[in-house]
Amino acid sequence: MSATRMRLMPRRRRSVKDLPPLGKLVAYLILGFWALVVLFPLYWLAITSFKLPIQVNAGPVYLPFVDFHPSLDAWHYIFVDLRSDTLRPYLNTIVVAVGSSTLALLLGATAAYALIRFKYQPRVGVILLFVGCVLLAAAAVWFGAPLPLALVVAAGIFALLASTVGRRFKRGLSNRDVAFWIISQRILPPVAVVIPIYVLFQRVGLLDTRTALVITYAATNLPIVVWLMRDYFNTLPWELEEAAVVDGASTFRVFRSITLPLSIPGLVATFLIVFVFAWNEYLLALFLSSADAQTMPLTVAAQNATRGPQWWYMSVLIQIMILPVIALAIALERVISRGLLVGAVKG
């Protein structure tokens, strides 16, 4: 309940006696120093994009119009000369980030809701049975059986055994275990799983497509969504849903027309967080896309490999890449921090 309390409690200015003048000075010095540390690289990025190569190479100059005369050459080059080479990855990034975040939110929110409202008792034995059947199918495929046949047979065996022997297993897991398992998937380093995913997408001909990236990003971000939304749903009042059910609404309808509208703040915060992750993602894109589906982080990174450090062009690219997320951060800072806190309190 501590999360609810935190949200409901009015933010009150602490009635602590104010800092002594010296303390205030020190506090502002520290804050100012860190603000400088944060802002200076961004400032440098901004002014570098208005410099000509010769101005960069001659050594540092700091103030536009005073130290050097700003020019739009780099911007012109990126937007006019390279037009499609810039816009294509940019569009890819937007499509992939929006698509994968939406998909992750959809799947994750339903799962999180289910983990809060319904009771699951997966039996350990049945899970082992399932894993066994999957291994069986994999082994069959390895030894040359056709894939559809192996899948159908394995599913059949599983259904048969689960309905007969399955009921005898006593040991069950709780919702908490399921949730923990889902969240713990975040531990997996992407690099440990990306090669098989690469091979799989290659087999089905989806390599270097946005679809591949959307699916992969959505699945890797799912644990975050489940983790944040589970705690959010837990703070919602239960009575409204109960009343709707008494009035005869189906479970899906209750979820769609009551729960989701009530949890819009939580959904927005979660969406933003996964959106930023997907927007900035580098490693998976590095493996799964090469030309057509290339996203912005790769485009920016590629500047180095092909032409050596051309700071002026890179500064433009990085800027157009970070401007949208920075705008989001400034507009929705409160929402983001609340959203993250809810998750951290419950873990």
Partner: protein, 386 residues
Amino acid sequence: MDALRLTRGRRRASRSAIRERTGRAAALGATAGVRAAFIWPALLAILFVSIFPLLVSLYISLSRLKLRRGGFDFTFIGLDNFRELYVGGERSHFLGVTRPLTPLGWLVLVATLALLAWGLVRAWRGGVSVLGLVLRLAGSLLAAAAAWLVVHTLLAHGGRPGTAVVTVVYVLVGVAIQFVLGLGLAYILTQGLPGQRFFRVVFLLPMMITPVGVAYMFRMLTDTGKGPLQPLWAAVGLGDFSWVNDPWGARIAVMVGDIWQWTPFMFIILLAALEGQDTETVEAAMVDGANRWQIFRRVSLPAILPVCATVVLIRLIEAFKIIDLPNILTNGGPGTATESLSLHAYLRWRTLDLGQSAAVAYSLLFIVTVVALSYVNLLRRRVADE
């Protein structure tokens, strides 16, 4: 201390509330089919990116890729990939070059071993179950081996750390500094100073910037010739020094970039936690005449300790995945000095040595899992609930 006990009580209450609610769910007419429809899509998606690839990866790590006309084959070679990493030709790349210890190295090693032994004795005296003792023993042995390796590569005459050691250094140093900075900044911002809103937003920014961009920015900043800090470097006599060509200079550059980027994550959550704590306890402590440090140490810190434990855990897990910064900032160089495990695996993949790449990735998975589990068992459980 009371504040902590209060939160704990509240949490226990909330947990039983959850249990009661989920118990009522069956009465709400959600059939087995509906319940399955809600959760299976997510489970299948996670199976798709975790269990299935992990199994295939395991097989790849135990095999060698052979190109043939029109395709490729995997030949099973057992543990050869791992053998090469841990004792074979790749050892100096992966683990590092071990050399005789310096006096400081001996001191650190002996201190670490003593600490581990003390922990074991305490657990034994405290009456832990047999399984618990065995697990602790295994954990301590692993920790001792890790300490031996770190000390023999970092604090030795002519030793050189491999990618595994470098990654661990990135994670431990990075997360520790991020936590201290984040907590300090968050604390200052709860003191009711004017202009808070500005600082909050500014401090959040680095987290939103793509790591690739951060890497380039720090490449500019570390450029001692054309970078903006050139007068500064010249003034302290480092005008000709190249940060990215010196092994430790390059590693420090990577760590500084990582700290710059991820301090906001710690900051923003800890700030929200500090703002959310009970004002009554703080006021009560003040009435009792406690000074600022005492209030922070005795009231605020215990109250937000569970949140602290969780943010550190999250960052710990995420920090192990570092790849963008070393790849762009230093290209893993000079030599392999700044390569992280993820980058190591990626570079092996690029040279089509898939077996070795998967073996490195699996080693990374093993390290992260062990670190995360020991952290949860040793620390987090103690400060968080249960």
